[in-house]
């Protein structure tokens, strides 16, 4: 009797030990979802990142979740609502944090050695904070500048070493670059937030502001310098007639197509656009040069998008997730991303890296990016404001230019209401 109980207990203990052992050997699986995993030029890099991370961390497996850019947020929201979101995500930090979809990272961040943390400036970090807590680690970004087609510039009798500095000089250049079924530039009015990005830059370049400091009021029309800049920029399509037609359907893809096919001589875009242009039309390799956007005030900032890696609120293995985020933020991958996908590294310790210096265009973008404001703007309603409301106003103003004042006054009122409704 005793012996049978004893052997029963022994079996039970052995089974328990075995299952615990087995469980301990089960790798932790963390899912990683960002819209960029489907970018073909980035694919070899992220595959390598995962491979090396898994080799260095045998108990962790990283499972990439591939999703088209336009559906990335939808998929993330659906999963978050059921509390089954992927552990590692790159999303609009403010909106996601406000909606409770992300986990604060402060405890992980503060536990890191100072040597690691010093690679991110305070300004950079603040772009990933919400209500004082850190919700993402900025990984890469894109600085916007004015990109010119050297051949077309030279053909128009202009000097590529003396790009336009002010709005008026820009129009003067534009007039020479337009003609023969070709235009100087394109006004972005398509239904994506790139329209808003470019509009903001022109506003800032004129010394204007689109919002007040704490994002509780919109000042597109209220601030006279903003309104002036808006009219100037949208007027490129109609009054000055130096922009390609059909601006209300011109979004990022259209714009880069036009530039790649030589239909426009310049575009306001980020470094990644050059890789896309060369991919679309290999003859364009080496033909572009870059200059800071023309501005009417000194020290006007340009715009830099910031993509951060975050941990979702429903993540079951946040420690493992943080390990991967840290790994991915390393110098090595930042440089790799810059080289294949032209995504700017956001660490401040790479400017003197020989690989970065070897690419003169990248160097220029880095320099221009030193005076940049981060995007998206920090408000939970930003995604909608940028892709819906502001775009609608731009489209309306492009279709009825004499109503621009009224349209942007309406926009101010509507946005102010939305900004306060949180």
């Amino acid at each position: 009797m005793n012996r049978s109980i004893g052997s029963l207990i022994a079996v039970a203990v052995a089974a328990l030990a075995w299952s615990v052992g087995a469980a301990a050997q089960q790798p932790i699986v963390v899912q990683w979802q960002t819209a960029n995993l489907t970018e073909s030029q980035y694919e070899p890099v992220w595959k390598q990142t995962i491979a090396e991370f898994e080799a260095a961390n045998p108990g962790i497996k990283v499972e990439p979740v591939l999703v088209a850019r336009k559906d990335h947020w939808t998929k993330f929201v659906a999963a978050s609502q059921a509390r089954k979101a992927p552990c590692i995500v790159s999303v609009d930090v403010t909106t996601a944090a406000y909606n409770g979809y992300l986990m604060p990272l402060d405890k992980y961040w503060n536990a890191e050695p100072a040597a690691f943390r010093s690679a991110w400036s305070d300004a950079m970090l603040s772009s990933a904070k919400w209500k004082g807590q850190l919700y993402g680690l900025p990984i890469w970004g894109g600085t916007y500048a004015e990109i010119y087609n050297r051949d077309l510039v030279v053909k128009a009798g202009l000097d590529p070493n003396k790009p336009p500095q002010t709005f008026d000089e820009y129009v003067a250049w534009g007039k020479k670059l337009t003609g023969n079924d070709r235009w100087a530039t394109a006004v972005l009015g398509g239904k994506t937030d790139t329209t808003t990005r470019v509009l903001l830059m022109w506003i800032w370049a004129n010394g204007g502001e689109a919002f007040n400091a704490d994002m509780t009021e919109a000042t597109f029309a209220k601030n006279p310098r903003s309104l002036e800049a808006i009219k100037f920029y949208l007027g490129l399509a109609d009054k000055s007639a130096i922009a390609a037609p059909a601006p209300t359907t011109t979004n990022y893809l259209e714009q880069t197509n036009l530039y790649a096919q030589g239909k426009i001589a310049t575009m306001r875009n980020a470094y990644w656009a050059i890789a896309k242009v060369v991919g679309d039309n290999p003859a364009m390799a080496g033909k572009s040069f870059v200059a800071p956007p023309p501005a009417n005030v000194p020290n006007a900032p340009t715009l830099s998008t910031v993509t951060a890696s975050s941990i979702s609120a429903s993540c079951q293995h946040p420690d493992a997730a943080w390990k991967f985020i840290k790994f991915d933020a390393d110098r090595k991958w930042s440089i790799a991303r810059a080289k294949v996908a032209n995504w700017m590294p956001l660490r401040n310790d790479l400017a003197d890296d020989p690989e970065i210096k070897a690419d003169p265009l990248l160097g220029q973008f880095v320099r221009i990016g030193r005076n940049a404001r981060s995007y998206p703007l920090p408000h939970p309603a930003w995604a909608e404001i940028a892709a819906n409301d502001i775009v609608d106003a731009v489209q309306k103003a492009l279709l009825a230019p004499d109503k621009t004042d009224e349209i942007f006054r309406d926009l101010d009122a509507r946005l102010t209401k939305k900004l306060r409704d949180i």
């Binding site: 899912q31 979802q33 819209a35 960029n36 489907t38 970018e39 073909s40 030029q41 499972e63 990439p64 979740v65 591939l66 999703v67 088209a68 850019r69 336009k70 559906d71 939808t74 998929k75 929201v77 659906a78 999963a79 609502q81 059921a82 089954k84 992927p86 990022y252 893809l253 197509n257 790649a260 096919q261 990644w272 656009a273 890789a275 896309k276 991919g279 679309d280 039309n281 290999p282 996908a341």
Partner: protein, 277 residues
Amino acid sequence: MRRRSPGRAAALWTIALAAAAVMVFPFYWMLNTSLKPASEIFASPPTFVSAQWSLDAYRTIFESRAIGRYFVNSLIVAIGSTALSVVLASLAAYGLTRFFPRGATPFVMFLLFTKMLPETLLIIPYFRLMSDVGLLNTHLALILAYSSFALPFSVWMLIGFFRSIPRDIDEAAMIDGASYLQAFWRVVLPLARPGLVAVALFTFLIAWNSYVWALVLTTDSSMYVLSVGIANMVGEYRVQWNELMAAAVIAAVPVMVLYSLLERHLVNAITAGAVKG
């Protein structure tokens, strides 16, 4: 039979060919683009035929993207949905026409009503449902979703069909000792074959082309279906249009083949279902 005048024939043919041209042009353009090299895609003026047509894009998508795998997943899901839909719709339609003849129409109306909510609003509750029962990343979740979309119209079609099969046939079978199910299975169902084919085609089409559900319910890329694979080819920073179109052509082929072979039955079933109500 009155003879058609040559003028009339010419007019009819002109209309038919013009309409056919408009209907088919996007396919032709899809095919054309899929065969072109990347550099020629945005050539101005656009080229309708190219000396540089090649199957490179097709080769690339099979080699560097899991198009073959996605195709198989789509096939499994579509066939599964078709099977489930045919079974459920035929059972329900038979039951309604034979046992609840007056309840048939209200039931179908209710089914159609349930179809009306835009997909956007169904995504989140559906994800939660599938997640709670542990069916995420399975073929079954998609099969269940697509069958549920196809059922309303399928039941309606089959009700019409079963109504046109006289009850005497069932009764004759049951007099010979068959149960309700056996009468249904062995005697009535074979007579409704065109209707079943129609339901199968219709469901296959829904399952094959649907995107949003697969987008939300699968995260493991080995489970992705063709429509998701195609959508993922539209990158923000680069779109390989020829490869994208090649994938779209591959996605269209099975449906076209299936329809070409079986579309006769589709017409018959719709006639029976609609005209006889």
